[in-house]
Symmetry: C2
Subunit: 94 residues, 2 copies
């Protein structure tokens, strides 16, 4: 989705934790939910937002849905942050 959706998706601590958990490899929705003290429905909601932001990709296997990281979109955020830092005139004066 859009750039702004990525920022929004990253603004929630639960979603950031989901992403960090997925660094170690893909997990099913249920396995992810097992790491939190929340209902599966709530985690499903967060996963849908991460999916819309293209931060995770899903793969269906049997009656499981596996979620894996997709960090390609993170580059854009880092670029934006670099511009923010690099573009500061005051910094250039140092």
């Amino acid at each position: 989705m859009a750039f702004a959706d990525t920022f929004k998706a990253l603004s929630d601590p639960v979603r950031r934790e989901i992403l960090m958990i997925l660094r170690h490899g893909s997990l099913s929705a249920g396995e992810i939910a097992g790491q939190f003290d929340m209902t599966g429905a709530t985690i499903s909601y967060h996963l849908s937002i991460l999916k819309k932001a293209d931060l995770v990709r899903e793969t269906k296997v049997k009656n499981y849905v596996y979620y894996g990281l997709n960090t390609s979109v993170v580059e854009e955020i880092m670029l934006w942050l670099s511009e923010l830092k690099g573009g500061n005139e005051d910094d250039k004066k140092v």
Copy 2:
């Protein structure tokens, strides 16, 4: 403030635009507000959130309040994003 506050602060498009405007140098609250189709009160609210997140610093001169970028806190966010990217086991297999 805290790490989470920085992400929250960056999640709003108006606040991101304020930061981008401030790249070119510090501006007074009124000058910043002038760039938006919103009341000064609303911009003041956004500035307070950026300030709490330590993304901007204020300097009072006469009856003006100048706001300037402070990007030191951006490093943390970039580090987190790097960990997200770097820690992906699937990437390492490539």
